[in-house]
């Protein structure tokens, strides 16, 4: 209850710090999501509709990568971007870009693995027809993505959920620097470590409200489109 009051207070006082952090959270997560979607959806689809040796292994690997610990992803990206690492010259460590990279690594397998399953189900139905019409390669990938568009929103929302909630990786590569790389989750972790549990929960409530708004908007758009078109 205190958390709700706190969340309410943070929002109605238009706390500028809160909005800065919230804005960065949204920006980082959405950019990461966009990149992960652009990579993950075609990848998952490609693996669903093409038979080749090693395909099963790749799908298993994707499924397993859904269980990649964020801290490990954070460390790997950290070592890459660290000034003494291979990409150190770019000076990306402790920037929002670094956080986006870490999140892309984390959520691309999720989106790919989940969309792989969705498309595989559709593939059972479409396979013969597509074969007969000579639809292959990237044309087939696009056709599957278009026809599964409503089901795929859930995969993308799962990726968004993971991105917006993620803390372990972004705190390592972002460093939780105030006014630079502090996002909602790292702020929550910081307040928790300061023992300000009410504030932490208040921030959590704000974040969850954001997640609900985004999901609500997506669901509404999707339902509207579905009704105007058809399932």
């Amino acid at each position: 209850m205190d958390a709700l009051t706190e969340a309410f207070r943070l929002i109605i006082t238009l706390d500028p710090d809160l909005f800065e952090i919230l804005g960065l959270s949204i920006r980082v997560s959405l950019i990461a999501l966009a990149i992960a979607t652009v990579i993950g959806l075609p990848l998952g689809t490609y693996l669903a509709i093409n038979k080749f040796p090693g395909r099963r292994v790749l799908i298993t690997l994707l499924n397993a990568l859904m269980g990649m610990p964020p801290v490990v992803v954070g460390l790997m990206v950290y070592l890459m971007l660290s000034r003494s690492g291979p990409l150190g010259g770019l000076g990306l460590l402790y920037t929002p870009t670094a956080m986006i990279i870490a999140q892309v690594v984390l959520i691309t397998p999720i989106i790919a693995a989940l969309s792989n399953q969705v498309i595989e189900n559709l593939y059972q139905e479409y396979r013969d027809t597509f074969y007969s019409l000579g639809i292959t390669g990237s044309k087939a990938v696009i056709a599957y993505l278009v026809d599964a568009r409503y089901s795929l929103t859930t995969c993308i929302l799962a990726g968004f959920g993971r991105a917006i909630a993620e803390v372990g990786a972004v705190i390592i590569v972002g460093g939780n620097i105030d006014h630079l790389t502090r996002v909602m989750t790292t702020a929550i972790a910081l307040e928790t470590s300061k023992g300000n549990l009410t504030l932490a929960l208040g921030l959590g409530t704000v974040l969850l409200t954001l997640a609900i708004l985004v999901n609500g908007a997506v669901t509404a758009v999707r339902e509207f489109a579905k009704r105007r078109q058809y399932a």
Partner: protein
């Protein structure tokens, strides 16, 4: 039922040039769950025109057509179409399935999907040919059963195939649509397309067939000109089938 006039299907020059003829099935064998569903099937289709495949449910008619279209690899045996393999000829084939699958898009988009380079006029013409031009904007999966079947046929014809395979394509059509489709098929055949169709409808087979292939238990039991087949079926199985008796 009114009969439409029987057109002659004599081979003309266009037919003689069909590069996918003759079609030769050699010792085709296919096992499914320990059962031989195709059992050393041999078949030679030399002539252009319309070949009708008949046979009891579960005989292996659909599987045979799927092998020919390259959807299934037989366990043993071979198929040749003229000088071509199944894979090489596949782009010149078109198939209408027993239960057609339409995309989750509207009628027009379903057509355009099969031939992206086609212009609007061409698509509308194709719809008009199957009497669906007033349904262009409707979601394809909400069409009635018969309308779906007609759309699938229009889609198959769009790319001017050299070989057209139809698996009970008129099973859920009304009499007028059946005649419409039959005349479309006949026109296509006269323009040089080899047509192979599966049908349980003896009226239709008599109207369309140049030759009839009778399949039973995964084997070709009889292959003869249509007139001969219907007037004097040779095999016990074909006699029983035409009489409506159960074949075991």
């Amino acid at each position: 039922m009114a009969r439409s006039p029987r057109y002659g299907n004599l081979p003309n020059d266009a037919n003689m040039l069909n590069p996918l003829l003759p079609i030769r099935f050699h010792d085709l064998r296919l096992k499914r769950r320990h059962r031989r569903v195709l059992d050393n099937l041999n078949l030679l289709i030399k002539d252009p025109g319309i070949t009708v495949i008949m046979g009891p449910n579960g005989a292996g008619k659909s599987l045979t057509l799927r092998c020919l279209h390259g959807l299934i690899k037989p366990d043993r045996g071979s198929i040749a179409l003229g000088a071509l393999s199944v894979a090489d000829s596949q782009r010149q084939q078109a198939m209408v399935f027993q239960h057609p699958v339409l995309l989750r898009r509207n009628v027009m988009q379903n057509l355009a999907f099969a031939k992206p380079e086609a212009d609007h006029r061409e698509l509308i013409d194709a719809l008009t040919a199957v009497n669906l031009d007033d349904r262009a904007e409707q979601p394809a999966r909400l069409l009635s059963g018969g309308e779906q079947q007609r759309l699938a046929l229009a889609r198959a014809l769009l790319n001017q195939p050299k070989l057209l395979l139809l698996d009970e394509a008129t099973a859920s059509l009304d009499p007028a649509s059946v005649l419409l489709i039959e005349s479309l098929i006949r026109k296509q055949s006269q323009a040089g397309t080899k047509v192979i169709l599966i049908s349980h409808d003896q009226g239709q087979a008599r109207r369309l067939a140049d030759d009839v292939v009778f399949i039973c238990r995964g084997q070709v039991v009889e292959h003869r000109p249509a007139d001969a087949f219907f007037s004097h079926p040779e095999s016990r199985e074909a006699q029983a089938y035409l009489a409506g008796d159960i074949i075991v």
